[in-house]
């Protein structure tokens, strides 16, 4: 395929709405080694990262472009010593600033500073509900206890808290306890996100893949909990798509809502986009964010519907799910413009199901492969 072939004849580009959200992966450094890490297999080093001034300039450009939510993420964003300055810069740009963190590296005085400059929200990851399992999953001894403490610091300062729980075969059974824990920690929002098999998660697919029964049970349980907790806890749920009928509207559609900036300033339409070999990515060091969003070949590659092949091209749902996940199409169907194999119409659906069934039935004795260990 050629980049930018999704044009609708409007001056050579697809009409794109301004972006709503930016995920700023300010560093790839992280003390944890979660076996489903969504960062790419090859990480960027500290010396390649954007400087404080470069990041703040990006935040200001983002606000002018229409971004409302800024997610400071990583790696572990607390690994950046200038996190306070970055947060101040983001708040000054009038961005709604969310810190996505493991909590490791946070101290009460650092949090005081962040609260003072106006950090809007903290999203804290939990790997499980008990110390042994959680620390085993994150590969970081003492992590779980620290996270529980961090949650109390966040709430003591009145900063709203979301708990993020990535779920997979090993911890899906404790989702009811996870919901209880989130409420107990004072979270108003809980994200239950099934592992998405990109990045490091593919390395551990056999250990992580939930069974079909687990996924069905979880989906029912979340529906029930949502009703019971209405007004107390908002539950956002990302179901496993391997067993689904239709694909998810990945990223709300390619180049429609979100923009990711990697630690070195490369702008990506999604965090796994570099698994698509035909794409090249512009860097905020070379081009304005606006130019990248509206004109870069990578953001235009899968905008609109002209890029689609069958069965997407004539499908009634093409403007609902946008053909699903491009990276999953690449990984399993072998073409980035194929239908997401999660879709029942995809000729690769059977293959994907078989892959999921086989992986989910594999023995639990197989150890996790941890990054860098």
């Amino acid at each position: 395929m050629t980049a930018g072939n999704g044009q609708s004849g409007n001056g050579g580009r697809v009409d794109a709405p301004p972006p709503l959200a930016m995920l700023a992966e300010i560093t790839h450094r992280c003390p944890l080694a979660c076996p489903y890490c969504s960062n790419p297999l090859e990480l960027k080093s500290a010396s390649e990262e954007l400087t404080t001034e470069e990041w703040i300039d990006v935040f200001e450009q983002a606000a002018k472009l229409g971004v409302l939510h800024l997610h400071l993420s990583g790696g572990e964003p607390l690994a950046r010593r200038d996190l306070l300055e970055l947060t101040r810069g983001a708040v000054r740009a009038d961005l709604y600033t969310n810190l996505i963190t493991s909590g490791i590296g946070l101290t009460e005085s650092r949090l005081d500073g962040l609260a003072e400059v106006g950090l809007d929200h903290v999203q804290l990851s939990l790997q499980g509900v008990d110390e042994t399992t959680s620390d085993f999953i994150s590969g970081y001894h003492g992590g779980h206890t620290r996270k529980i403490q961090v949650a109390s610091w966040v709430r003591a300062r009145g900063i709203p808290l979301t708990v993020n729980a990535v779920c997979h075969r090993m911890n899906m059974a404790v989702i009811p306890e996870m919901i209880e824990l989130a409420v107990k920690l004072g979270a108003r929002r809980l994200e239950i996100a099934t592992v998405q098999f990109h990045g490091w998660a593919i390395v551990n697919r056999n250990q992580l893949m939930p069974t079909r029964a687990q996924v069905e049970e979880t989906t029912q349980l979340v529906e029930k909990a949502r009703k019971e907790r209405e007004g107390e806890l908002v539950i956002d749920y990302v179901p496993a798509d391997y067993y689904a009928t239709y694909p998810k509207a990945c990223m709300g559609g390619w180049g429609r809502t979100g923009i990711n900036i990697d630690p070195t300033g490369r702008a990506l339409p999604c965090h796994a986009a570099e698994t698509i070999p035909s794409l090249t990515f512009d860097n905020v060091r070379d081009k304005s964010l606006s130019d990248i969003w509206y004109h870069s070949s990578s953001f235009n590659a899968f905008r609109g519907t002209d890029w689609m092949a069958e069965p997407c091209r004539t499908c009634d749902r093409r403007e609902m799910d946008f053909g699903g996940c491009r990276c999953q199409a690449m990984a399993i169907a072998g073409h980035a413009n194929a239908a997401d194999p999660a879709c029942y119409k995809s000729p690769f659906k059977e293959e994907m199901l078989a892959l999921a069934e086989t992986a989910s039935q594999s023995g639990t004795v197989e150890p996790f492969v941890y990054r860098g260990r």
Binding site: L65, H69, R189
Partner: protein, 99 residues
């Protein structure tokens, strides 16, 4: 607290982490919350401009009834329905202590 416990004396407020702002790029007024935004229409904006952590639902309804020269009962029901929905979706806090 659940939105079902609303009374005319309840006092709604924006919790930390929810912002009312004008989105200049798209020229609209919105509530911004974690991972979510809510676009407000004219009546929604009028209500939210009176949500200051001091005004009770009764006061908000009275002010709006006056402003739009509309029956208090109708306006009151609309205000309660609007606020209950926002509370249930986590956009608003509510206080029932009367102070």
């Amino acid at each position: 607290m659940s939105g079902s416990e609303l009374t005319r004396q309840s006092v709604p407020s924006l919790p930390r982490g929810v912002r009312l702002k004008h989105d200049d790029v798209r020229d609209r007024t919105i509530l911004v919350a974690p991972e979510r935004t809510l676009v407000l229409d004219g009546p929604g904006i009028a209500i939210m401009e009176l949500v200051d952590g001091e005004n009770s639902i009764e006061v908000i309804a009275e002010r709006l009834a006056e402003k739009f020269d509309a029956p208090l009962k109708t306006i009151g029901n609309d205000v309660v329905a609007f606020l209950r929905d926002l509370i249930n979706r986590g956009y608003l806090d509510i206080r029932n202590d009367g102070g």
